[in-house]
Subunit: 389 residues, 2 copies
C-alpha cells in the first residue's frame, strides 16, 4: 500500500424527497446562488420547480443558467463565470448529472481566477481557490457529486480534458434515487459503464498489498452488475436505483483508490472519442475498456484472473490463469452488451479514419504516454482503438 491522503467532506443526504431540503442546505452557505442545470428533463419532471420553491422558501436568491450539454462546454462555463462575477454570486448550485456538476465546478474554479480558465485543463495552472458548489443529483454515473474532478470540452480545440482538485469537492450532495427512475434505459446503462470504469481504473494497479481496496472495488462492481439489469427491467425499482446511486458515489470519491497507483488510460482514450463524436462517455468506455484489457492483461494475468473470479464468479483455474483472465474480460463485454451498450466503434457509428489523431491527442498530456498500469504510447492506443473497430 502506498502513502495517501484522503479527505471527502461532502455532506450527503440520501433518500426519497431529499431534493426538497435544497433551500435549507444552500442557505447554510449563501443567500444568492447560480442555479445551474441542463435541458428539458429537469424542467419537465417538475424538479426545477421544486428546487426553485425550496430556495425561495429558505430566502435564497437565485440566478438561473441552464443549457448544459452532455460533454459540457467551456463556452457555457465562461458565460457562467461572467454572470457570477458581474452579479457577485458566491455559490453554484448544480441540478443534474455529471455534466451539470462538472460545468458548475468549472465555473467555481474560473470565477476567482485572473487568467484564462482553460489554463486549468491545459495544466499550466492549478486552482488556488474556488467558489463552493452544491448538488442535486439526477444521474448516477460520473461520481462528480462528491469528487474533486471536472471534465470540460473545448469545442474550438476539439479537446476534452479532466481537472482534479480537492477544492472542487461539493459542499453537499442531495441524492434521491427516485429522480433516476425516469432515465432512459440507454442512459442508465451508460451510467453503469462509467461507474464500473471508475472502479476498474483504480483496480488495475501495479501496487502490491492492497487487499482492502481490492475487496471494496469488487464489492462495488458486483453491486452495479447485480442491480443495473434490475433497474432496466423495472425502471421504478427503488431498491436497485438506490444501490446504483450510492455505489456510483463511492466508486469515484477516491476511497477505492487510496494507497494505489491508478491507471486512467481508458478514460483518457474515451475523452478523445467523445470530443470528436459526442458519444456518451459511458458508451465510449464500454467500447474502449474491454479492448484496453485485452491489450494489457498479460502485464499481470493474476490480477485479471482475480477480477474474473471475484467480480464475475469465473471458476479460477490455477493451471491456466490466462484463460481465467480472458474469460473475465469476455464476461465484462457480455455484460455491457446485455445492458444495451455498444462494445465496438462500428456499433456506435464511429469510423476508423481519425483513430491516429485520437491516439496522438490522448497521449499529449502525458508527454507521449498514457496510463499507469501499463504505459501506452500513441501506437499502442491506436491498436487498442483498431481492435475495437
Amino acid at each position: 500500500m502506498l502513502q495517501f491522503e484522503f479527505e471527502n467532506p461532502t455532506r450527503i443526504v440520501f433518500g426519497q424527497g431529499v431534493e426538497n431540503t435544497v433551500g435549507r442546505e444552500t442557505a447554510r452557505h449563501a443567500s444568492k446562488v447560480l442555479l445551474h442545470f441542463g435541458g428539458a428533463s429537469a424542467l419537465k419532471s417538475g424538479l426545477l420547480d421544486r428546487v426553485r420553491s425550496s430556495l425561495t422558501e429558505a430566502g435564497v436568491e437565485y440566478r438561473e443558467l441552464g443549457g448544459v450539454q452532455p460533454n459540457p462546454r467551456l463556452s457555457l462555463v465562461l458565460e457562467g463565470m461572467k454572470i457570477c462575477r458581474d452579479e457577485k454570486i458566491p455559490f453554484i448550485l448544480a441540478v443534474g448529472g455529471g455534466s451539470v456538476i462538472d460545468s458548475a465546478k468549472a465555473i467555481a474554479a474560473a470565477v476567482p481566477y485572473a487568467g484564462d480558465p482553460w489554463d486549468f485543463w491545459e495544466y499550466s495552472a492549478s486552482p488556488e481557490t474556488a467558489l463552493p458548489v452544491g448538488v442535486v443529483l439526477t444521474i448516477p454515473a460520473a461520481g462528480s457529486e462528491t469528487s474533486g474532478s471536472t471534465v470540460i470540452t473545448n469545442a474550438e480545440k476539439e479537446l476534452k480534458r479532466g481537472l482534479t482538485s480537492q477544492l472542487l469537492r461539493p459542499r453537499f450532495a442531495l441524492m434521491n434515487p427516485e429522480l433516476t427512475m425516469t432515465l432512459p434505459a440507454y442512459q442508465t446503462a451508460c451510467g453503469a459503464a462509467d461507474i464500473m470504469a471508475h472502479v476498474m481504473e483504480r483496480y488495475f494497479t501495479n501496487t502490491r498489498d492492497v487487499e482492502f481496496t481490492d475487496r471494496l472495488c469488487e464489492a462495488t462492481l458486483k453491486t452495479v452488475i447485480s442491480n443495473v439489469p434490475r433497474a432496466l427491467e423495472n425502471p421504478q425499482d427503488y431498491a436497485a436505483r438506490a444501490e446504483i446511486m450510492w455505489a456510483g458515489t463511492i466508486a469515484h470519491n477516491d476511497l477505492l483508490g487510496t494507497g494505489r497507483e491508478q491507471d486512467w488510460a481508458s478514460h483518457g482514450i474515451e475523452h478523445e472519442l467523445s470530443a470528436l463524436y459526442d458519444i456518451a462517455h459511458g458508451a465510449g468506455l464500454a467500447i474502449v475498456f474491454p479492448s484496453w484489457m485485452r491489450r494489457v492483461y498479460r502485464h499481470d494475468p493474476a490480477r485479471f484472473a482475480r477480477f474474473a473470479h471475484e467480480v464475475f464468479a469465473v471458476e479460477y483455474d490455477p493451471f491456466n490463469i490466462e484463460r481465467t483472465a480472458l474469460e473475465g474480460i469476455g464476461r465484462l463485454e457480455s455484460f455491457f452488451r446485455r445492458i444495451g451498450l455498444p462494445v465496438r466503434l462500428s456499433e456506435a457509428g464511429i469510423p476508423a479514419d481519425r483513430i491516429p489523431e485520437m491516439a496522438r491527442k490522448s497521449t499529449l498530456k502525458g508527454g507521449g504516454m498514457i496510463g499507469g498500469f501499463v504505459k501506452l504510447d500513441s501506437a499502442a492506443v491506436q491498436s487498442i482503438l483498431e481492435a475495437a473497430l
Copy 2:
C-alpha cells in the same frame, strides 16, 4: 435502503512517518493545544518526543495531559476540561488509541458546556458545540480516529457509556501502520475483534435492500480475517498492519452503516462487562458476540447464512440454512480463539455472580430493552451472558 445522511470530513494522512507532519497539520487549526496521551508506550517508543518536536517546529505551544487508561475515566476528562478552560486551550491533540481519542473528544465536548459533562452520557443533554480534535493513531481498533463516538467510564457509578455526535469527528487523523508494529499480540487481537464487531453491529440488520453496504461490510471483515493472523505471525509485516489499520477506520466511520438499521446490543452488553471487570473491550466482544449470535440467528437465518458463506466461505446449503448459519458462528468463534482471545467469561476470569446486575444495567438506556436487530430485555441479556460462561 433507509434514508440517511453521511458526512465524514476528517482529513486522513496515511503511511510511514506521517506522525512527523503533526505540527504542520495542527498549526492549521490552533497555535496552542492540549497534548493528550496514555501511558508509557508512547513515551518509550519515542513517539511522544517526535510529536513534541514537530509541534515546536511548527510554532505550536502545547500543554501535556497523559495518563489516559483503557476504558477512559470521567475523572481525567474533568481534569482536561479544567486545564483547557483555565489556560484557554482551543484544540485537543490525541496521541494514542481509542481510549486516548475518546478521552480527548470528551474533553472537547465538556469544555464549552455549562452543565455537568456526564449529562452527555446520561443522554439528558447533547453537545451543541465542541473544541476541534486531531489524532495521531497508535492502535487500530476503536475507529475513533474519524468517528463521532466517545465511550467514557464513570468509575464512581460503575457505568461505561457511549456518546455520538457529528461535532466530535476529528479534524485530522495521522495514521502510520509502523506505529502499530510494537503492539502486543493480545492487543492486536483485541483490536481486530473490536473492528469486526463494528462491522457486524451494522451487518445484522432488519433493513432490506442493502446489498452495497452488505458487500462493503463483507469486504472489510474478510480483510481483517486474512490480515490479523499475518500480523500476529510477523508483527513487522507492514502490509498486514496497513490493511488492518485502514479497515479499522472504514469499519467505524459509518459508511458501512449508511441506510441500515443497526444493532449495538453486543457493544452495550460488553460495556457493562468492562465497566465492572476492566477487561479489554475487544476481548469482551469476542465473548459476547458469538453468544449473542446464537441467541438471535433464528430471527433471520438467511442473513446469518449469507454471513457464513460470504465472510467465512462456508458452503451454502440451501436445504439447511440454519446449519449454514450456525457453521458461520462457529467459524467466527474459532477465529477469535485462533488469534488468542477468550470466548468464554470463565476464560477471562469473570464469574457468574454479577450477571443479573450487568444484564439490568445494559438495558437501562433503552428503557428496559437493548438492540436493533432483535430487541432484548434484561432476561435475554442474562441468558446470553450465562451461555457464555
